[in-house]
Amino acid sequence: MRLKVNGVEEELAVTTVSELLAYRGVDPVARFVAVAVNGSVVRRFEWPSKPLGPGDDVEIVRPFSGG
């Protein structure tokens, strides 16, 4: 299905947030990572159960240097 991940549309065979993170090489127990789907934060404990559907807009972020 087509998903928008960090602003880029792609065709992906993943069904949950956890699967998407694994596919993107993000360690599922890595701290300091946060995810939002369609403008709402998905809490860490919801990653394995949160289903992704066609057209979903996913943001995967982490802290970076800043002023």
Binding site: R24, R31, F32, A34, R62, P63, F64, S65, G66, G67
Partner: protein, 256 residues
């Protein structure tokens, strides 16, 4: 003499808040944070990239600092609120330095959206420190909606132009019910000392340290300047006069 800064019930030993961006390299950044004596340091929240940086900023900082995530670059209240919520999830802090930019060239705050977003974030349980105009009315509105501090700009972000409107900063400090943190525009140590002398409770510095010729020295200079400015403020400056007033005794002058 301890003189802690209290924001939202949290006591901070340093009145200097330091950014983590624009340093020549990571080691210089770590040395500067150490030399600055800062306890609170800022971070941004950005999309994970595939190229990736193996080590996260938080790992590098090693739990020695309290992190203040920002919403830098956000131009809509919606994006700023989502960024704050992502920061809360990623960093397990409800503190946020709220930035809502109205002009990408000037990085000047969009006051209308800023007050709206601050109000909503306070309602969601955030401790909000908004980067704002050096405008007493805006600062009052931000305090009224429940912001924990206000962060008026000295001059444009990264400009190093110092405090363009000291009268306004002094006015804000004299009227604000919440701590005032001078943010943006600091160019060198005297600007930071000046901010504290005007009555600011703290100063936020990033570029002035990170982009100086010797960032480690500048970090130490900023620390000393903030401490000096604070002491001078507490001590109370003498009034300015139009004419000279001799400091040596007038009586017993030789030849009189």
């Amino acid at each position: 003499m301890t003189d802690p800064l209290t924001i939202a019930g949290a006591s901070l030993s340093s009145r200097l808040i330091v950014g983590t961006a624009r340093y020549p390299n990571q080691q210089v950044m770590l040395d500067c944070l150490e030399a600055s004596g800062a306890e609170l340091v800022t971070a941004s929240i950005r999309r994970i990239s595939l190229e990736g940086y193996a080590e996260s900023l938080v790992d590098v900082l090693g739990g020695r600092y309290r992190l203040l995530p920002n919403t830098a670059g956000c131009v809509t209240a919606r994006d700023a609120i989502l960024t704050a919520e992502l920061a809360r999830e990623a960093l397990e802090t409800n503190w946020v330095k709220l930035e809502l930019i109205g002009d990408r060239e000037l990085l000047y705050p969009d006051v209308e959206q800023l007050v709206h977003a601050a109000d909503e974030l306070v309602r969601k349980g955030f401790t909000v420190l908004p980067y704002c105009n050096e405008d007493p009315v805006t600062c009052q509105k931000l305090a009224d909606v429940g912001c924990a501090a206000v962060m008026p700009l000295g001059s444009l972000i990264g400009s190093g132009m110092g405090i363009a409107n000291p009268t306004a900063i002094e006015l804000i400090c004299s009227r604000s019910p919440v701590p005032v943190v001078l943010d943006a525009g600091i160019g060198t140590a005297s600007d930071a000392a000046f901010a504290m002398e005007l009555g600011c409770d703290a100063v936020m510095v990033d570029t002035a340290i990170a982009q100086s010729r010797d960032p480690r020295r500048m970090a130490a200079a900023m620390r000393a300047a903030v401490e000096a400015g604070r002491l001078a403020r507490l001590a109370g400056r003498i009034p300015k006069r139009r004419f000279a007033e001799p400091s040596s005794p007038q009586l017993g002058l030789v030849g009189s």
